[in-house]
Symmetry: C2
Subunit: 354 residues, 2 copies
């Protein structure tokens, strides 16, 4: 195989979707990010299931506020912090409000649908389709992936909670109007799950990314399931590579697509400095735990203005793409703030793996 | 329910089994701990599946050595550290050799069988029955539990590895002579799994203890399985209790036993200072995610000399017990070094829960 670098073309209209394009879910909220989105073709449209992050509108009286789901009240509430309290840290990381005893997320995320005939001009639903709803989702729901299996769309997503950590939950829909929740499918902390769109040898497969509390690694694992709800046969199949672009942490991103060469996965990796890039990996058709190839250089790295600067800069993150017309059509979160689009030749990506 | 404290009787011959009672697995190793053990009645004997921890015998030339399984060589090797290197820390915690880039375990654990007619005098096998054997077990195998289901003994245990973290693996045997491995059943970091000895409502259940890398908690969860290999429906069911003896971390210990009042579990909890005690919890017969009662005071806390002082003092840890003759017969690891025995009235334990 060659190791030439694929020519990734960013769309001139990028970013395609920005926070100001999205109506807040309630009048006292402000949309600050619309980013990591699941992608699928549905009824001849490109459908994006977008992660929308909102903050509570602050004012002079309440300058530090955090929205979170309260399981006891069964609704999203707003927690206020004393701006004079020197132990409350809002500066170190834009994603967090830090106190001596707890890490709060500064925003709460829900899911919102956007649709497009041409894949570029999107119409965005005025209201969320899924919002935080239980103790596992106190800090919101994040980073959905969509896998179509036998006419049902399965949506897995990260549920974030100070009580239960980072779990992965499953939901399903047939029409993107009503959604059924199926609970937690991976114990904490595990996110970045990508479910393969077909059974292989009688089993479902999913890439996933457990985080070791004791040993610190963030690698990619593969798990198997008879029914999408119960997972086992867990194996560590891809590790961070010292000295490469993905030496800090890696995790699966897109739902794998079947090519003549094998299952193609676009995954994300970061260096130790939290700079998130995308790369690709190729997995054996009949045993996808076997990794046949992997990007030596990143497929995409932050370089456009909207990738370098934003809510959390230097980030390109993907939760889904379309593999069609000989192209990978990548809808991705940029700088944790906007959605952008790029496309690249599938053949070039496959050629680049080694 | 009353909340009187049960009368736990420690055996006068405690500790029943000490490191010097166990033959090392090879001549250059030394047994330093024999402790947390699975317990079951097998062929009219009490069978203990013991965790045996060994260190490499050090000498003047090689004073700091660590045994570990090397997946490339397919065997346990010995890694030497330079005693003059000031960044190598062997003092902070007896369980570890710490370097700036990695935490090594100072010992490596395998499983060894001990058998007894009377439950007190044990005959110990001269050789291990299971040893570290793959990348998930580089730092050894630990803390086995035994669940008898339909004539097969299922053994779940912690597999420790710097590459793959703390996972839980499953093995099985019918005779405690040959053992079959079934791979990783819970992704990292998750240990302290206790599999219920019968299906409940058509599903297997297991208590487990995921460790959140992001949010730090160490609570008890329940999971379900159709086949013991694939697990899902994960729920957080028991949390650490601020101000109680179990405010630091908790995890399941014994295999639950069915009583008239429900499923009785003996679990371990520690305060924030790593003082490990045992307590009990009661779970609904038909929905064991429902916690009906819990020990306000510890059932057992370190107070005997062999519990207070040892390889890692102030620890009482359990991996199994016999529930028979109206008693809980508890075989437990004391100070991470020896095996001791205590018994307590089942009725008194049930009465003490609230």
């Amino acid at each position: 195989m060659k190791t030439s670098r694929p020519n990734v073309r960013r769309h001139p209209k990028n970013p395609l979707i920005r926070p100001r394009d999205v109506q807040p879910s309630r009048p006292d909220f402000q949309v600050v990010c619309v980013f990591n989105c699941g992608v699928i073709r549905h009824q001849n449209e490109v459908l994006l299931l977008m992660r929308v992050a909102e903050i509570a509108k602050s004012d002079a009286k309440n300058p530090i506020q955090v929205p979170l789901f309260d399981p006891n009240q069964g609704k999203i509430i707003i927690k206020n912090f004393d701006p004079k309290d020197p132990t409350v840290d809002t500066k170190s990381d834009s994603r967090y409000v830090l106190t001596p005893t707890r890490r709060y997320l500064s925003s709460i995320s829900h899911f919102r649908i956007a649709r497009s005939k041409d894949g570029i001009q999107f119409t965005i639903d005025p209201t969320p389709c899924m919002v935080a709803d239980n103790v596992y989702e106190m800090y919101g729901i994040e980073d959905p992936r969509i896998t179509l299996i036998d006419g049902t769309y399965y949506i897995n997503y990260s549920a974030i909670s100070p009580e239960t950590g980072v779990t992965t939950c499953l939901a399903s829909t047939k029409d993107f109007k009503t959604f059924q929740r199926h609970g937690v499918i991976f114990t904490p902390d595990n996110k970045d799950i990508s479910i393969f769109p077909a059974k292989i040898g009688g089993k479902y497969y999913a890439l996933n990314r457990p985080a070791s509390a004791e040993y610190g690694f963030r690698d990619i694992w593969m798990s198997q399931s008879p029914d999408l709800l119960h997972w086992g046969r867990h194996e560590s199949i891809m590790q961070c590579r010292p000295g490469f672009w993905d030496d800090g942490r890696i995790g699966s991103s897109s739902v794998p697509c079947l090519t003549d060469a094998g299952w193609l996965e676009v995954y994300h990796g970061s260096s130790k400095g939290n700079r998130y890039c995308l790369g690709a990996s190729l997995h054996d058709k009949t045993d996808p735990t076997k990794v046949l190839g992997r990007s030596k250089e990143p497929l995409m790295e932050p370089e456009a203005e909207y990738e370098l600067h934003g809510f959390f800069g230097n980030v390109i993150f993907n939760c889904g793409l379309l593999c069609e017309d000989g192209l990978l059509k990548i809808y991705y979160g940029a700088a944790d703030e906007v959605i952008a689009y790029a496309e690249v030749s599938l053949a070039e990506v496959l050629d680049s793996l080694s």
